[in-house]
Symmetry: C2
Subunit: 339 residues, 2 copies
């Protein structure tokens, strides 16, 4: 591995016959440098293949061109979508991403926030509102914009973008009841704070409709299609009269669909299924599955936009929360009348 000596800003300056400061300026505020100087500098940069050293820049300026992103997991397709939105939002900027995953542990999250903040990032994007008190204190005192994503409702530490999971789930259960299902149940995995809020929405929706029992099957295990099969089997064993399920997310809903098919239960007519997030596969399924649609992509995009707006001087004031809402997508899986 050869360590070819890097080209530095001073060498560019020498080649362009200006001072290093002027090169630095040409890189950051090109319009504050004369056109002639700029031309010579650009040429020198190109010919020498100069690439700025971000560590030196960060040390000298006390800032970094990196947005820290702290999420529970990358292999959860909800966060995968959010990440894609973040990358899309970053396009055209020189900002990079430093990604950390908490595996749903507030301790790990706090540790990551501490480390990320110590690098003086350009901004921080963190999932949810349930940080540890110490983490919240760090974020409140942060010298950069902080965006809490996924959820709105609790007052943001700085900025927030997301939706109300409580109301999304409540809309789901209300839809099931409106379709004429009498004994809806809730299936949940992972049970992170957003899932808890969805469960609360489900319970309140049921209670408002005068339903007394509490038909809920949850597990802390990470969500999956096969888990959906298992949870549904458990549910039927414990509460055979169940005629509809609101699933914590779409994976579980697909699992319920498969398990119902295995048992020759007619989905729609005999069993209503509603998912959450409206993953692309929901509308492709047979029968098509009802879900509560969320816009993970724009969640990521908007989070980056909020950081970028702050960086360019403007941006929303501290305390601003952007509610992206949700949309119930009724499909054949909750069409009780039909068939």
């Amino acid at each position: 591995m050869n360590d070819k000596p890097r080209i530095t800003l001073s060498e560019v300056a020498l080649a362009a016959d200006v001072s290093p400061i002027t090169v630095s300026r040409a890189l950051r505020n090109p319009d504050k440098v004369s056109a002639e100087a700029r031309a010579r500098i650009d040429r020198a940069i190109r010919e020498l293949g100069y690439v700025p050293n971000p560590a030196a820049r960060a040390l000298a300026s006390g800032r970094t061109d990196v947005i820290g992103v702290v999420i529970p997991s990358v292999s959860n397709n909800v966060f995968a979508d959010v990440m894609r939105g973040i990358y899309e939002g970053l396009e055209g900027s020189s900002l990079g991403v430093q990604l950390g995953t908490t595996r749903y542990s507030p301790m790990t999250e706090e540790q990551l926030i501490r480390v990320f903040l110590s690098q003086r990032p350009a901004g921080l994007i963190v999932a949810g509102h349930d940080q540890s008190p110490a983490a919240r204190a760090l974020l409140s005192a942060a010298a950069c914009p902080v965006v809490q994503i996924m959820e709105v409702g609790p007052p943001p530490i700085d900025l927030a973008v997301g939706l109300s999971h409580y109301h999304g789930a409540r809309a789901g259960v209300e839809h099931l009841l409106a379709q004429g299902y009498r004994a809806p149940a809730f299936l949940g995995a992972q049970m992170d704070p957003r899932s808890q809020r969805r469960l609360a929405g489900f319970r309140d929706g049921l209670a408002a409709a005068g339903q007394a029992d509490d038909p809920v099957v949850t597990t802390p295990e990470p969500s999956s299609v096969s888990l959906g099969c298992r949870l549904f089997a458990d549910l039927l064993a414990r509460r055979p009269q169940t005629d509809a399920v609101l699933c914590n997310n779409d994976d579980l809903a697909i699992g319920v669909l498969f398990e119902a098919q295995r048992r020759n239960i007619r989905v729609g007519a005999e069993l209503g299924i509603c998912g959450f997030n409206d993953h692309e596969m929901m509308s492709a399924a047979e029968p098509a599955l009802t879900s509560v649609a969320t816009d993970r992509l724009s969640m990521g995009r908007q989070a980056v936009r909020m950081v970028r707006d702050r960086l360019t001087g403007g941006g929303a004031p501290r305390g601003h929360a952007l509610d992206l809402g949700f949309r119930l997508m009724p499909r054949a899986s909750t069409a009780r009348g039909r068939v």
Copy 2:
């Protein structure tokens, strides 16, 4: 946003009554510092809440504690799994991840590699073997370990871990033929280099069995379940005698399953379906779907391990490629005899 002045190494040194160098050493090689000094330093660090400045460290040492990861996309669940493996492999180290996505563009990939390399990362993990010539040149000259993931076969630039997509797909089509299907077809989306290799494996497998026609439907669009439905519909319109499909990946296979159900085609008996990767949902589906299993998680883990081993002095020699293999998982969707 208050900019509270950071604690520096010198302040820790002052508090611990040693020189800054000793603090630095205690941080990097604790066993080269006396136990007493170490105790005082640890205490000072804790009490002052000192966090090292990575930019200063990077500038002074010419190195960074970050592994650059360059992949096509984060919202593809194959890469999501790989990323999780990478994070698992990182546990217990102080290394971070800088993630870049190429959106399947070799130009963007080259640009990312250039930028990442300019930051002198601890290592670089890049997807595939199809970098631009300029990118290959950069990687060959890199001062850090470079691991090409996803695939083995082409000689690695430095290190590689993956599997042969050609042989995986070939095993898939051979299985379909062995099960007695007469007219298998190939369905492909995205068609990145790995997909192309799978297609080649399919074609060679067919040809070896004496099949003359070339039943292939592909699209450059990103893969999805609904795309699987559409491609299968196209395929049936163009080649009604098709009695089995080898899908480029599991999303498409699930789409084929749903579309077959919609058309009352009996999966298994009338139509064989084989996916690729063996996503968790394949075994949960009804009927369970055959797939070629790949181990994305250990791909990520092993890639990190290779970097870490190099960093600690040892590690595999340049040119080493680790073949993780694949495993055909025969299930009901290709059980032609049954039903």
